[in-house]
């Protein structure tokens, strides 16, 4: 640390400033927003057309993402997870309907839970209930401040009959829903007619239950070691225990991802803390530097400024040594 002390202050300050400028410039070029988790804001921009449920819709590639760090869930039994470190989130709205797109890396596509030893990949977004007066606990909410969770499961893509494709069944005694007891009892996970997304509400650990209205839609796609999933729901929630959105206002949003091949399910998941979800009235901003000329100029300017800064820093270091 002796050497550092001898570097002139102007050189170190200048170098640091240049480094920060360099990082900021690079991040701007990369169209990313990795703000610290406490201040992380996901902006839902006004889309010019309906993005639909296709995770590969062209609109998404023009939408700035937020990189949300995930950690293992350690707050309650069943604790665990943590194998998915980060999720890239984007949000849009069109015609008073919110669209949230999550993307994460997962080298194993666990699209089915057709055997006792298999678990499916899944993802969820969580919002405060409309009735919540403040930010609820990200861990399943609390008694006076509930949360609304939309969960997508990859096994909804699979067909249980695939496992039994070769099986021979003469007849089942009855195919009446009454005898499919879980389905008859109203368990949405047991109903093949239920879409891939569950609309759930919770007010504490262990209270997670299907909402009375199942109006959340979603679709997932897997390619090149990545899942991308789109969730969508109209702004207006059907009841007070569900999330509600208004253009020009903010609410909160949290993410969870389950990695089936790691045995993730229930509390064993990778989770984020709450981010601010800003439902903006503005259109998707054109990414800066999308014009190649601007991009080239910006890169050139950065190189000049950055190079100058590093040069100055080195010069300062050498001068400091000489004066010692």
């Amino acid at each position: 640390m002796l050497i550092l002390r001898r570097i002139p202050r102007w050189a170190t300050t200048g170098g640091a400033l240049v480094a920060v400028l360099l990082c900021a410039g690079l991040l701007q070029l990369a169209n990313a927003n990795p703000a610290a988790s406490q201040t992380l804001t996901l902006t839902a921009w006004q889309a010019s057309e309906d993005p639909g449920l296709d995770p590969n819709h062209e609109l998404w590639s023009r939408t700035q993402f937020v990189q949300a760090p995930l950690t293992a869930q350690a707050g309650s039994y069943a604790a665990g997870g943590g194998s998915i470190p980060v999720v890239w989130a984007r949000a849009l709205h069109y015609n008073n309907t919110l669209y949230v797109r999550l993307e994460w890396e997962d080298s194993t596509q666990d699209g089915s839970a057709l055997k006792v030893e298999q678990f499916a990949d899944a993802a969820a977004v969580e919002f405060p209930a409309k009735s919540a007066t403040s930010v609820p606990s990200v861990c399943m909410g609390q008694a006076d401040m509930g949360v609304n969770i939309w969960q997508w499961r990859a096994d909804s893509l699979g067909n249980p009959n695939e496992l039994y494709a070769n099986s021979v069944v003469d007849t089942y005694p009855s195919t009446d829903d009454l005898f499919y007891t879980a389905r008859a009892a109203g368990n949405p996970y047991a109903n093949p007619k239920q879409g891939p997304v569950q609309n759930l509400v919770a007010v504490a650990f262990g209270t997670l239950s299907p909402a009375a209205t199942q109006d959340v839609q979603g679709q997932g796609a897997y390619s090149n070691g990545r899942w991308s999933v789109v969730f969508s729901r109209p702004f207006t929630g059907a009841s007070e225990d569900l999330a509600a959105f208004t253009a020009g206002t903010s609410t909160d949003i949290a993410f969870a991802v389950w990695n089936g091949s790691e045995g993730d399910r229930n509390g064993r998941k990778s989770v984020s803390s709450f981010l601010t979800l800003n439902v903006s009235g503005a259109a998707i901003p054109e990414p800066e530097g999308s014009d190649w000329l601007v991009l080239a100029l910006a890169a050139g300017a950065l190189l000049v400024i950055g190079g100058g800064g590093i040069g100055l820093g080195l010069y300062g270091l050498r001068e400091g040594k000489r004066s010692a």
């Binding site: 309650s76 039994y77 069943a78 839970a113 057709l114 055997k115 006792v116 030893e117 096994d155 249980p160 496992l163 039994y164 494709a165 070769n166 099986s167 021979v168 069944v169 089942y172 005694p173 009855s174 195919t175 009446d176 009454l178 005898f179 499919y180 007891t181 879980a182 389905r183 009892a185 109203g186 368990n187 996970y189 047991a190 650990f205 262990g206 997670l208 239950s209 399910r265 229930n266 509390g267």
Partner: protein, 351 residues
């Protein structure tokens, strides 16, 4: 962990007499036809009878963890894979009965991916242990044990597994179950199945709709060997209390699992072993006592001695309450308070 189960007000219990079971699986089919015939339940055998010493169902049934340590700490369990449980096999009926075949082909079972089965629900039937002429085995009937310390209840983060207050039966709420299978990991007897078509865990329900109508469970009522007794554990005049508490000849299976099961077993007696010279070895049981102690706990030695003494008493023409209970000349005596004939019930038509 989630919450521990609260103790029930009363506890329903069963005693299975291993000395009377002939391994006919009538109980297994009584259960199958009553409860597990629908799609997604093909591989489920809520009641199973396996030969022991043996590997059981699923394979190596007691080696998959679960239950509690002596200090009451949960022991991590694992999932026996579907293949270890044994799939509901397919058969190439088309190949066998097809009209365009020159040569007949045998009706080999196949697993769903076409592979030849490597294990099944009763794969090692009648193999047992020991070597001729000292070979031995017994049949072991297994259903949900309705444990007093049910690990499955504590393992469920959704509180969808619960122990009924009125009779201590452990049930899974199929409305709440999300198919996470923590219960299946926690059960040391591996009596919980996964229904992959409904995405829920399922297991023996002690025929509770029958019990509520005063009818004994199907496996008990249909047992031709009069193996199974049922009653409340606290009924001092009932078979269960007398066999478990008074005579102490009915023992829990694998008490070291720490879950206090409520199915009790009359341990198997066995003939004397032969010495190498062909004479009887009258120093002990042919089934090794260490094995019996592992299965039924340290009380097994005394239980077998009691059974032996009472049997000799009865053989000598004296009255033995214990032998009278085990013989159960009046069939309905096995059924405790659940003697209603299901044929006499008013049945609700299915929709």
């Amino acid at each position: 962990m989630a919450k521990k189960a609260a103790p029930s007000k009363r506890q329903l219990a069963m005693v299975f007499d291993l000395n009377k079971c002939l391994g006919c699986q009538t109980c297994t089919l009584a259960c199958k036809t009553a409860w597990t015939t629908r799609a997604g339940m093909e591989h489920q055998w809520w009641n199973i009878v396996n030969t022991f010493p043996g590997r059981g169902t699923p394979r190596d049934v007691f080696s998959h963890g679960g239950g509690y340590t002596k200090k009451g700490e949960p022991i991590p369990g694992d999932f026996p894979s579907k293949r270890l449980w044994g799939e509901a096999w397919d058969f190439d009926y088309e190949g066998v009965f097809g009209s365009n075949r020159d040569e007949p082909i045998p009706l080999h079972p196949r697993e769903h991916d076409g592979a030849a089965p490597q294990w099944g629900p009763n794969w090692d039937e009648d193999m047992g242990g020991g070597e001729y002429p000292n070979s031995y085995f017994f049949y072991l009937q297994q259903i949900c044990m309705n444990c007093s310390e049910p690990a499955c209840v504590e393992a469920c983060p959704r509180e969808s597994v619960y122990k009924r207050e009125e009779d201590g039966i452990v049930l899974i709420d199929e409305e709440r179950c999300h198919g996470y299978r923590f219960c299946a990991e926690a059960c040391p007897y591996k009596r919980i199945y996964f229904n992959e078509q409904r995405n829920i865990a399922q297991k023996c329900i002690s025929c509770f709709p029958r019990l509520e109508a005063g009818v004994a469970p199907a496996c008990i009522r249909q047992c031709p060997g009069r193996v199974r007794h049922i009653d409340y554990l606290d009924n001092a005049d009932g078979h269960i209390y007398k066999l478990v508490k008074k005579w102490k000849v009915a023992l829990p299976l694998r008490p070291d699992f720490g879950v206090e099961p409520n199915v009790y077993y009359i341990p198997p007696t066995s003939p004397l072993a032969f010495k190498e010279n062909g004479e009887f070895d009258d120093t002990g049981s042919r089934i090794p006592m260490d094995y019996l102690k592992e299965m039924f706990g340290p009380g097994v030695e005394q239980a077998l001695a009691t059974l032996e003494a009472e049997r000799e008493k009865a053989a000598a023409g004296k009255k033995s309450e214990l032998m009278d209970i085990l013989i159960s000349r009046n069939w309905n005596d096995l059924l405790g308070p659940f003697t209603v004939d299901p044929a006499q019930l008013q049945r609700q038509p299915v929709r």
